[in-house]
C-alpha cells in the first residue's frame, strides 16, 4: 500500500516536512508539483513529522502538492542493458533509450567485511609515464586528482578511462558542465568504449540534491558488476560538488557546521563512498578515480583535506602536469617490486625523482641569481628533458618504453655514477652509444 499525503507543513531550503505515519527512515517519496514529478528522500523522522530532501529542489512546490511514499529506499536498476546508457542523478534515463526498472537493487548497501579483503597487487596500466612509472595505479585503489578549475582534469580522467585495462567504466558526473559531459561522451565514443560504459550524469544545471545520489548509484551498480567478476573503473567528477551539496542540506537542517560550513560528518560521508573500492576475492573489483577541485588551490580546504585522509594517495594536477611532488600512490609498492614489474622500475622511479628534486633546487638557485656549476647545468638540461618527455600529458607510451626512455634521458645528461643507480642495473640497462 502506498501512502499519499497532501499537506506539506514546512518548506525550507530543499527540505520539506509532511505529517505522515508508517514511514521508513530513508524511504523515497514522489512529489507531484506544477513542475512535474520529483523524488524525495526521508532524512529525519520525529513522531509524525517527516522531513524529506527533494531531489529536484523545492522551487515551485506548493503546500498541498501530493507526496506519495514509495515504501522503499533509493534503488537502481541493474543489468547488462545499462551498458552504453546514460542516467541522471535520480537513476532515470536521460538518453532516449527505454526505461529500465527491472532487477532493482538497493544503493548505499552494507560495507565489505575487512577480513574478506585481499591485498591488491594488480597494476592498472594507463600509458601515462607519470602514473605507470612514478605512481602506479592499482586495481581497487581509490585515488583523487587534486586540481583547480581550468586544469585539464576531465581530459585526464577520460584518457585514463579509455586506456586503462578494465572491463567497464562507470562515470558519475556531479555538477559537470554540459560541454564537459558531451566531451566525455565524445571521447569514449570515438575510443570505442561507450558500449562498456554507464553514465550517471548530473550536470551543473540540474537540481543540486540530485548530485547527492550520483556516487551511491554509480557505486551500487559497480559493486554488482564487480561481484559478477568484472573489473570496474568508477570515475567521479567533481566530488567537491558532492561535498557542497551535503553542506547545503546540512545547513538547511540547521546542523552545526564543523569547518567552513561543512557538516561534521563530511569525513564519514566521503569515506562511505570511497571505501566501496575493493578487490573481491575470486570476483571482480572496483577502482575509484575521482576529481576533487580545491577551492583557492588550498589543499587544507575541508574537501581535499578530508579526501586526502580517506584515499590511497592523490595526483596533483598543476599547470597541466601531474606533479611528481605531492602526488602519491600509496599502493604502488604492491606492484612495482622486481617481482611484480620490470626489475629497474623502482630504481628508475627513485633515481629520476631524486634528480628532478635536485633540478628544482637548482632552478630556484638560478632564479635567485646564484652561480651555476657544471653539475647545475647538467641538472637544468635534465629537468627540461624530464618535463617534455615524461611529464607532458600528451606522452602516451607503455611502461616498458617509458622505462627505456628514462634510461635514455639519464644517459643524455649524466655519467652512470652521477645517477647513483646500482651498478648491476647500469650494466644491463645503460644505453650503448
Amino acid at each position: 500500500m502506498r501512502k499519499v499525503y497532501n499537506k506539506i507543513s514546512q518548506i525550507s531550503g530543499n527540505v520539506i516536512t509532511v505529517n505522515a505515519t508508517g514511514i521508513q527512515n530513508e524511504e523515497l517519496a514522489e512529489i507531484t508539483s506544477q513542475r512535474g514529478k520529483s523524488l524525495a528522500q526521508v532524512i529525519k523522522l520525529d513522531h509524525e513529522e517527516v522531513s524529506l530532501q527533494v531531489f529536484a529542489g523545492s522551487r515551485g512546490i506548493s503546500i498541498n502538492d501530493e507526496v506519495r511514499f514509495l515504501g522503499h529506499p533509493m534503488q537502481v536498476t541493474f543489468s547488462d542493458d545499462m551498458l552504453g546508457r546514460i542516467f541522471d542523478g535520480a537513476g532515470i534515463p536521460r538518453d532516449k533509450g527505454p526505461t529500465l526498472n527491472e532487477n532493482m537493487i538497493e544503493v548505499a548497501g552494507p560495507s565489505v567485511n575487512p577480513s574478506k579483503r585481499i591485498i591488491p597487487d594488480r597494476m592498472i596500466r594507463t600509458n601515462i609515464p607519470m602514473i605507470d612509472i612514478f605512481n602506479s595505479l592499482v586495481v581497487s585503489q581509490k585515488l583523487p586528482i587534486f586540481s583547480i578549475s581550468g586544469e585539464p582534469y576531465n581530459e585526464l580522467l577520460a584518457r585514463i578511462a579509455l586506456q586503462a585495462e578494465v572491463d567497464m567504466i562507470i562515470l558519475g558526473g556531479i555538477g559537470l558542465k554540459y560541454d564537459e559531459y558531451m566531451n566525455f561522451k565524445m571521447v569514449l565514443e570515438e575510443g570505442g568504449a561507450l558500449s562498456r560504459s554507464i553514465f550517471f550524469m548530473h550536470t551543473a544545471s540540474d537540481p543540486i540534491v540530485e548530485a547527492l545520489m550520483v556516487p551511491d548509484l554509480s557505486l551500487a551498480v559497480a559493486e554488482k558488476f564487480a561481484l559478477k567478476g568484472r573489473d570496474v573503473l568508477v570515475l567521479l567528477t567533481d566530488m567537491t560538488n558532492f561535498a557542497d551539496a551535503l553542506k547545503e542540506i546540512a545547513i538547511t537542517m540547521e546542523q552545526v557546521p564543523s569547518n567552513r560550513g561543512y557538516p561534521g560528518d563530511l569525513y564519514s560521508q566521503l569515506a562511505a563512498r570511497y571505501e566501496k573500492a575493493v578487490d573481491f576475492d575470486e570476483a571482480g573489483s572496483i577502482t575509484i578515480l575521482a576529481v576533487t577541485t580545491m577551492p583557492g588551490d588550498d589543499v587544507t580546504h575541508p574537501v581535499p583535506d578530508n579526501t586526502g585522509y580517506i584515499t590511497e594517495g592523490q595526483f596533483y594536477l598543476h599547470h597541466g602536469y601531474i606533479d611528481p611532488f605531492g602526488s602519491l600512490s600509496r599502493l604502488k609498492q604492491n606492484v612495482n617490486s622486481p617481482k611484480m614489474s620490470r626489475k629497474d622500475h623502482r630504481a628508475i622511479m627513485d633515481g629520476m625523482i631524486q634528480l628532478y628534486a635536485q633540478f628544482i633546487e637548482t632552478e630556484e638557485k638560478r632564479a635567485m641569481g646564484f652561480r651555476m656549476s657544471d653539475w647545475d647545468k647538467k641538472l637544468l638540461k635534465y629537468g627540461g628533458l624530464f618535463r617534455s618527455k615524461m611529464m607532458d600529458l600528451s606522452v602516451n607510451i607503455s611502461l616498458e618504453n617509458a622505462l627505456d626512455l628514462g634510461w635514455e634521458i639519464l644517459a643524455e645528461c649524466f655519467t652512470p655514477e652521477e645517477t647513483r643507480l646500482r651498478t648491476e642495473l647500469i650494466k644491463e640497462f645503460w644505453p650503448k652509444k
Binding site: 575487512p114 564543523s258 586526502g308
Partner: protein, 580 residues
C-alpha cells in the same frame, strides 16, 4: 526479570529517540527489533520518559513505532582466554566468523560470540580451598599461545572472597565453573573462566598505579634515543594525511618489545588493516619465534563501518588492554586514528543538539580524551608483580594544523609528542617525526646530556640552512657549513630509518647505544676539510659508510669490519689527530 521495552519516536541519522516508562540507565545497551534483525544501540542521554540512543548500525528502514528492548547491561566486552589473535569489529564481533557465515558484506543486526565456548583450555589452579582473594587475583591459569593467561576473580567482585571449591587441573571450557567462592556475607558465587566488563569503566582491580619509568623499546631510533616512550606511558602521533602515521604505527606494532599489541583501526581505511591481517600470521616475532599474530589483537572499525561503533571501538580496545595488563604483561595499544573517534563524538553531539565547542566538537572532548589516555599506566597488581598498558594514538588534524581541538587536547595529557611533518614526508625522510618540534617527558636509555647536544646541533644546522637560502653557500663560513653538514649527517644516518629493509627497520637498544656513540663522535670532531666541496664530499662518503653499516646485522663479521673502516675515516680527517 522483565526487561524494559520502548518504542521509537524519532530517527535522525544514527540517533533515535525512544519512549519508555521502564527503568533504564545511562550507557545501557538496547536492541531495536526489526524482524530477525536486532540492531544494537546504546543509551547516550535520558530525558522525561525518553531515551536517546546511538545505533551501532545503519538506521535505514526503521519506522516510528518500532519496538526497542533494553538489556539491563552497559556496553561490555567479554573477557577470557582466546582473545589473542582475534580480529574484532568495534563491538567485539569476530570478523572472520562473520565472513564465514555471511560472506563479503557485514550483515546488520547480528551478534556473534566473541570467544569460542566449545574450545577446551588446560587449567591449572593456583589457589586452594580456604584461600582468601580480592578481585583481580589469580585463581589459576591456562596457556594461551605463548602466555600464561590468568584466570582471575572477576573485577566486579567487590570485597573479600574465600575459596570453597576449586577445579582440579584439567581441561575446561570457558563457561565451565572452575571455582566457588564465599563472600563476606556467606553467599556463594560461581566463577567461570570468562566474564564481561563495561568498556567505558576503567578496570582498577590493582593495588596502585605508579609513575612509568622503564623505556619501551620501539626499535625506532629517533623515538628510543630522542623522544622515548615508557612502558605504561602515553604518546601521540599527529600529522597531516600521508605523513606516515599508519606506517609508523605498523612499524611499532611489529618491532615494539612488549608482550601484547592491540591495534585499534578506528575509522581509517579497511585496506590498511588487511595488510596486518594478511601479513602478521606470516611474520615471525624474533623474541618468541612464533608469528606476530600470536601476540596481537586487532580491533577494526574502519571508516565505512557504522560511526557509533567507531566511538565504542577505542573503548573495546583499551578494555582488552587493561585485562591483559592484569596478568602482569606489558601491553601496547595503538589507536589509528583518535581523530576519527573524536569526530564520532562530534557527530553524536550534533544530533543531540548539544552546545558545540570549537570546530563543533563537544565541550567534553578534552575530558574524554584525558580519560582515555588515563587508562594507560604501570600498575602494581593485587597478586604482586607489575603490568603496564601503554597507549599511543595517531591524530589527524584538519588541514594538518596542530592548533586544532583534538591535537591540543591530546597534547595536554600525553607523555610524548611525536609530531610528523609534511615537509619531511615530502622529502621522503622517514619516519617523518619532526626532530625539532617533538618532545618526550620520558627518559631515554642514552644520557640526556648527549641527546641534548645532538639536538642542539640539529637546531644549529637548521639555522645555517635557513640562512644559506638567503645568502647562498658562498656567503656561509666553512665552520657553519660543517655544522650544517653534520646535522644532515645525523638526520640521514640516525634519525631516518628504512622501514623496508630487514635489518634497518628494527634497531635494538644495544645497537642504538653502539651506533649513537659513533655518530656522536662524528658530531663532536672538527674535521680538517679545506673547502665546501671537500667537506660535502667527505660527509657524503661518511654518510654512505654509515648507511651501509645500518644495513648489516650486528652479529655478522661485516659489522665489525665496517666499524673499523668508519673509525679510520674519522681519525684520518680529524683535526685533533693532526695536532692542529
Amino acid at each position: 526479570m522483565n526487561l524494559t521495552t520502548g518504542t521509537i519516536t524519532g530517527i535522525n541519522g544514527n540517533m533515535i529517540t525512544v519512549e519508555t516508562d521502564g527503568t533504564i540507565m545511562q550507557n545501557e545497551v538496547a536492541y531495536i527489533i526489526k524482524g530477525k534483525e536486532r540492531l544494537k544501540s546504546e543509551i547516550v542521554r535520558i530525558g522525561q520518559g525518553t531515551a536517546f540512543l546511538q545505533v551501532f548500525e545503519s538506521t535505514k528502514g526503521l519506522l516510528i513505532g518500532d519496538k526497542v528492548e533494553f538489556s539491563g547491561d552497559m556496553l561490555s566486552v567479554q573477557l577470557g582466554p582466546g582473545l589473542l589473535k582475534q580480529i574484532y569489529d568495534g563491538l567485539q564481533n569476530p570478523l572472520p566468523d562473520l565472513a564465514k557465515e555471511f560472506g563479503f558484506f557485514l550483515p546488520r543486526g547480528v551478534e556473534l560470540k566473541p570467544l569460542d565456548e566449545e574450545k577446551k583450555w588446560e587449567f591449572t589452579p593456583t589457589v586452594k580451598v580456604g584461600d582468601t582473594l580480592i578481585r583481580g587475583m589469580k585463581l589459576g591459569q591456562v596457556p594461551e599461545g605463548i602466555f600464561d593467561h590468568f584466570v582471575m576473580l572477576p573485577f566486579n567482585f567487590h570485597g573479600e572472597f574465600t575459596v570453597t571449591e576449586i577445579a582440579d587441573k584439567g581441561e575446561y571450557k570457558i563457561t565451565d565453573t572452575i571455582a566457588k567462592l564465599k563472600d563476606e556475607k556467606g553467599t556463594v558465587h560461581e566463577v567461570t573462566m570468562t566474564f564481561s566488563w563495561p568498556v567505558k569503566i576503567p578496570i582498577e582491580a590493582y593495588r596502585e598505579k605508579h609513575v612509568p619509568t622503564d623505556p619501551l623499546i620501539t626499535q625506532t631510533r629517533i623515538i628510543d634515543t630522542f623522544y622515548p616512550v615508557a612502558n605504561g606511558g602515553t604518546f601521540c602521533i599527529p600529522g597531516p594525511f600521508g605523513a606516515g602515521k599508519t606506517v609508523l604505527q605498523h612499524i611499532l606494532s611489529r618491532y615494539a618489545q612488549v608482550d601484547i599489541v592491540i591495534v585499534a583501526a578506528c575509522g581509517e581505511r579497511a585496506g590498511e588493516v588487511v595488510e596486518l591481517l594478511r601479513e602478521f600470521p606470516e611474520l615471525e616475532d624474533p623474541r618468541t619465534g612464533k608469528t606476530l599474530m600470536e601476540r596481537t589483537i586487532i580491533i577494526c572499525n574502519t571508516s565505512s563501518m557504522p560511526v557509533a561503533a567507531r566511538e565504542a571501538s577505542v573503548y573495546t580496545a583499551v578494555t582488552l588492554g587493561e585485562y591483559y595488563r592484569q596478568m602482569g604483561l606489558n601491553v601496547l595499544l595503538l589507536a589509528d586514528s583518535t581523530s576519527r573517534w573524536a569526530q564520532a563524538m562530534r557527530e553524536l553531539s550534533g544530533r543531540l543538539e548539544e552546545i558545540p565547542g570549537e570546530e563543533a566538537f563537544p565541550a567534553y572532548l578534552e575530558s574524554r580524551i584525558a580519560e582515555f589516555y588515563e587508562r594507560a599506566g604501570l600498575v602494581e597488581l593485587n597478586n604482586d608483580g607489575f603490568g603496564t598498558l601503554t597507549i599511543g594514538g595517531t591524530v589527524s588534524p584538519a588541514g594538518g594544523n596542530f592548533e586544532e581541538p583534538v591535537t591540543q587536547a591530546t597534547l595536554k595529557v600525553v607523555g610524548a609528542f611525536l609530531g610528523l611533518s609534511r615537509d619531511r614526508a615530502n622529502a621522503r625522510r622517514f619516519p617523518s617525526i619532526d626532530p625539532l618540534e617533538s618532545w618526550s617527558k620520558y627518559k631515554s636509555f642514552i644520557k640526556k646530556r648527549l641527546v641534548d647536544d645532538a639536538r642542539d646541533l640539529l637546531r644549529r644546522g637548521n639555522d645555517v640552512n635557513q640562512m644559506m637560502m638567503v645568502v647562498g653557500e658562498e656567503g656561509t663560513s666553512n665552520e657553519d657549513f660543517q655544522f650544517y653538514l653534520k646535522s644532515e649527517f645525523l638526520d640521514s644516518v640516525y634519525l631516518q630509518q628504512n622501514a623496508f629493509d630487514e635489518v634497518d627497520s628494527g634497531s635494538g637498544e644495544e645497537r642504538q647505544k653502539f651506533v649513537f656513540n659513533y655518530v656522536k663522535k662524528v658530531l663532536d670532531t672538527t674535521f680538517h676539510l679545506e673547502n665546501k666541496d671537500k667537506a660535502r664530499e667527505f660527509f657524503n662518503h661518511l654518510r654512505q659508510q654509515f648507511i651501509d653499516w645500518n644495513y648489516i646485522p650486528m652479529d655478522s663479521p661485516e659489522f665489525k669490519s665496517q666499524e673499523e673502516s668508519i673509525s679510520k675515516i674519522i681519525t684520518e680527517y680529524s683535526e685533533d689527530e693532526k695536532g692542529l
